[in-house]
Assembly symmetry: D2
Homo-oligomer: 440 residues x 4
């Protein structure tokens, strides 16, 4: 359960240093303004919203007039963890530029290959980061620092931070990484170390709570839309043809949902949050058959995490697993098989084309929108860190950048609301029955 | 001045018809929900916000359980006005699909070439719109209905609406169009006609007030970023080279500002909202010279409406005008000339490359993000119109789709706030001096 | 064996009709020229070329001054067969436009879904094709006419041609389709029918002999390059990471080879024409291990038809087959498994990312280069057909468009020459050992 | 006039060093082969070709078994001159990789900013080029070495080559650069210096003779096609609308011609090689008016060098010039003005949209096709240079890479043949009258 203190932003101490940035504190003088520590954004603004978490307000992110760190005393470090996500390099670049040019911090380290880089047994030494070194990285996909999966003992990581003299850590990653960031904060805090830990949310699945959107999602949808368009062209160019596209999204169906909206050409959208059945009156197979009878082509978009419950007892799925290369419960191959079997059994010739763009969604360079969003998060992370704020991540809520306490952010996972607006939009676009949406 | 009644959403009458859509009204049943007429979104949520328009709340957009129109009694019409904007066809398509499949409205007309199409002296007859006819239009740029500039007498337009039996008009356009929509509403209302007028904001410049974003902007920024990248590559590939890019934005610098953020490569951003000088200590020319001395390349992004005050008394600008093809005050050519003259006078060889992507920003098909956003506006416009709401446009505010009364929407034009977040971001990215931002 | 008559272009009869096209026959008058029937292009021009097929010359394609068909007497038909290929719609469009505007042929039919459309038991009726109907199809992927796999009895197809009054058939397809075209010609010829059969080569694999390039290949390489770039970014962003990309190419490795050249980032290229081993001194696994030791990242590009000999006796491959969804001999999954097993056995942690862009290579709209090439083939097919030429396809050889007799074109399949220039280029780019190229 | 010796490839001396590359010299052993010095490609192969330059054969490019330079004795240098061109970085990268990995040359210099870099008074010092340094440059537009216009005294440049110990120069550029390369060769030769000068053709206009295609052209056409599509969408989305697009091409209309073919949407194509008139029966204005009357929209694509003869005596053009920013004879503005005036005079309202993508055609990164082509030229340039060949450039002819003596290459400029195939294709696509093509 969340405790009241989980809602507050922690700081390393009082902010008594005058920021080197020359902004204003008054409106009307035509000069860009600092953000006050008392500016907040409410969690719930829709008058219909649930009373849950009533009164929760997010601190507004941005540059403070008074900061905690003296520029010359900072050794900053940047770390990217988990899977790739378009925008990682934009965020890294923005953090370096903001530190160097705005806060005059000249000592910036890049941790190599995620948390592994803070494990002295396996990790490479940090690299020095400079404006010259990072100026073109945003044009490339991937992470210029490298990344890795898997957690390292927080105590070991804090040892490494201490060894390198790092007192300002920017850590980019998803739910697991943010849990790790919180653990680093706790370990450092227990030792009485003044190390600011600032998280930047990085999840292509958009599944971090209390953050409206995350960078990379829009780029992923852009690529996924191309895959759906290909599936559509395949489907309409043959008789009784089915285009089946699998996109990322293990526990949250945002990519699948948005892709369906962006593409307009899908007839069925399957996501982890909405169970569905294959057989029976409202089953996917009957609905698909009905669609083919009527239009002779169909497109299905499935999130990789959809329909896991259908594969629970599947001999087939297990067989894949034994062969070592197809993971248990690959919904793409499962659906492909089931659809082909269904129509074969009925002696209806169909032509199924399966497309899995897989990593192409996440290792391309960021599109314009994600580029600027990732960089914006990075700059605000620097603002927060220089102000001595810690154990937080930079969020985005109701069009404002915010400070989200890590205990709050990691308290739950964000998912598509089956009764909410995104899913309503999807239903409007695909025309799939509402009943199916309810898992009937 | 706005009057209190300008804040309220008008309706044609009571909504007593049961919607043909099968949604739910309770949370927790796993079925997508209708939106109640009492659900609102506050205008100001930031605790630092100005008290201006205190208490303003927007009605939430979306499907209502009870609607005004009986599907069989509706003749809907769609009209696109003004300049092209990526997403127009997505919006048209979504309106047709939502009307046809969700509300079972089968009589849908397309007005040809904007308001001209409602002028019987010059306009072509409306065309019938069907799902089959519009199903692929979102893959194309432009407007499938055609568009035009220039206003037609509202009385004449209402005559045409009456002649075609139209009682539900969807009109997509910018500030001028929305003023026209309001005039149509007034003219129809004076005659006691039950015609719902629903606006959909369409402005690539993002300059409609009380609407956070408009479709097309993101696509425009995507293309403009490519132009800036070209300018950057030109600049770094020659010695003392300047890449100068002009982008759309007559009175608002959103495209220029976002492009600079998305591209990362610009050193100066010029927008209509922030006056600047060419000469003197804080003048662009000296700053540019300083930049070239230091780095030997520079990139300038200017909105087409920037620096108009500089050209007021320009003989040169007038000369262009006389020649008939370069409009008064072309900031691109003006800057190009001034920069070249400045360095020639100082005998400093430079290499200036000027890029004006012009209409390429607006006539491409919508990117994924704009596609889904434009379609979402279209669907909510249908929801509003079928509910009998009128004299409004569909907005987007703090992540919610809203109903904005037309008198409110047209009461002012949205611009970049010189003291706000977007401009702060631009300054952080370009490194141009804050002082210049204030026009010093 | 090819017989001498297989080298000659057949005609339906003498070309005695004056072409409606107003070109010139003399050089120097500044007017575009017709092509004479005596203009030829030699097969072998490289002084080092093998003496095989010595003396083979291709008739030059293009508009003739005298043609066979009177425009009013022609009923033309267009048919697309086999898998999709970027450019199909460009070719269809160009054929219609050339027939309609240049040769004033107004009766043009579109056969639906390939050869199936000429089978009265299953096929849909042909559709009428007009300039208005096809004017925008080049902006879309797929085939506007639909396509299908599987052959129909030539006699049945000729029956259908007769029933519809078709005397000029344009048939787009790969090796199998061109064999079918030849069979249609033979069946029609045996009946004494004056039906011109003109093939247009369509193979994304570029595997039709006596044709230097085919449309769609370049577009496929463009998309495949993106997949390889993603694999590269995945590989360099993790430690000891391997990006593995599978691209189309069942019996010919052109896509894989050109993709490797276009991407620059691949370290190994595997194609059907060059056998390779997994184990041993020159085996892929040892070379990959050596590469990872040295650079800690690697990218492998494999054609789907590569390494089939390695999977011949694979229990594993058979298992996939039994499960019904992974076809026998999927080199992608096979390599993925073998590589993971190899490094697991040696206790070397690696991170393998497998990308299969599959149909995305072929169902996108054609890029600029393929658009113009496909349309050029289509126009020359019309020129040939109107001139009464038959049992041929339109080729491209040494920068000239040519007429290739179908018996010649279908006599063998084009493959990458293991001793030739393309493979030499691949070796230069990947740095993989020459020895491996020889299958040692 | 060309002299017989201008047809021969010059060498620095006998090639007696065994190449470090392990290729084969026999066919049939499954190992990639070296190219013999006696392998040639004929200039004219079309049996209809003019007898001019009869007997001209190009030496085939590629790796030789015996080479001239010992790897350890080579100091190579790379220089890029003139305007940017997509593919420059691919070529640079390929030259470095081929030298380093294939020929084991470790001393490679990059000349900064073109010929200026060989002028000690103004130029920066050369930079060291390594595989690590160039490995990612192909992902970027522009030239990683920088470039410049303007010629430097050949004697001065040879002095610089000597000072830096350079004995193998790769110089990428257009017609002027190749003339400069020849002058460098002559100056070095007069001094008895053993410096190999190898040109790589770089012209986005494709105007170098004896070279079938040059890199960058295809990328330029890809971008220009997008501009034409925008013009098309603008044109069809308004009533009586004209989309006017200007593309590069000062003296040769290849970009304009190919763009028209790739886009399919243009109705008029204007190139430098084909004079046209504005007024009169066959004038552009009447034809445009006729087109608008019939279809109410039109698209015109003009090369920047088209119609120069029309502007000779134009007051207007001079006026632009006086204002300093629009160069004499800007065909885009000229046509825009004339068209607007024409229809204004006739009181026919039209809507003209002018698009000039300008540098966007040339500063984008190379597309897949140009990437591989530019790299291929670079590798063969290394093969030629290491074999001691000099005073040549690498060509491409009838699908083979060739050695073209510089005196031959610079003897004339390549243009679109008004009676040839490309122009015939353009006429077929636009539907513009043949008569106009002849300038009647």
């Amino acid at each position: 359960m969340l405790k009241p203190e989980d809602f507050a932003i922690k700081t390393l101490g009082e902010a008594q240093v005058v920021s080197p940035i020359k902004f204003s504190t008054v409106r009307g003088d035509g000069i860009v303004n600092f953000i006050g520590n008392d500016v907040t954004i409410p969690y719930a603004i829709n008058s219909d919203a649930e009373p849950e978490l009533k009164g929760l307000e997010f601190e507004s992110a941005g540059p403070r007039k008074e900061i905690y760190f003296r520029p010359g005393e900072v050794t900053a470090a940047i770390m990217t963890c988990g899977g790739l996500c378009p925008g990682l390099n934009d965020a890294i670049r923005a953090i370096v530029m903001q530190l160097h040019y705005k806060y005059e911090v000249k000592k910036i380290l890049g941790i190599r290959f995620g948390q592994q880089g803070l494990d002295p047994r396996t990790g490479a030494e940090p690299v020095e980061l400079t404006p010259e070194g990072v100026k073109d990285i945003h044009l490339h996909g991937g992470s210029a620092l490298g990344t890795s999966r898997g957690a390292v003992d927080p105590e070991v990581m804090v040892d490494s931070l201490v060894r390198h003299g790092i007192n300002l850590l920017f850590s980019l990653g998803g739910d697991g990484t943010q849990k790790g960031n919180h653990a680093i904060f706790q370990a450092a805090d227990r030792r009485g170390l003044k190390i600011a830990v600032v998280g930047v949310p990085k999840t292509i699945d958009n599944d971090i709570s209390f953050v409206y959107r995350t960078f990379g999602l829009d780029t992923a949808v852009t690529i996924a839309r191309e895959a759906v368009r290909c599936a559509h062209y395949e489907a309409v160019s043959a008789y009784n043809a089915v285009g089946l596209v699998k996109v990322m999204g293990r526990q949250s169906g945002f990519i699948a949902g948005f892709t369906v909206l962006a593409a307009n050409d899908a007839n069925f959208c399957l996501i982890p949050e909405i169970p569905f059945t294959l057989d029976g009156e409202n089953g996917l197979l009957r609905l698909l058959e009905e669609r083919l009878n009527r239009r002779h082509h169909a497109v299905i978009v499935t999130a990789e995490g959809a329909g896991q419950e259908l594969m629970k007892h599947e001999q087939e799925a297990a067989t894949y697993d034994a062969s070592g290369n197809i993971r248990l419960g690959d919904i793409g191959f499962f659906l492909k098989n089931r659809i082909i079997e269904h129509f074969q059994a009925k002696n209806i010739p169909i032509d199924l084309k399966y497309i899995d763009p897989s990593y192409m969604l996440r290792s391309v360079p960021a599109n314009a929108n994600d580029s600027m969003f990732a960089a914006a998060l990075g700059r605000r992370a620097v603002d927060a860190g220089m102000a001595g704020k810690t154990d937080l991540l930079i969020g985005y809520w109701h069009d404002y950048f915010t400070h989200v306490p890590l205990p709050l952010a990691i308290s739950r996972r964000k998912q598509v609301d089956p009764e909410g607006e995104l899913w309503r939009e999807v239903l409007s676009t695909t025309g799939q029955p509402v009943a199916q949406a309810a898992g009937l």
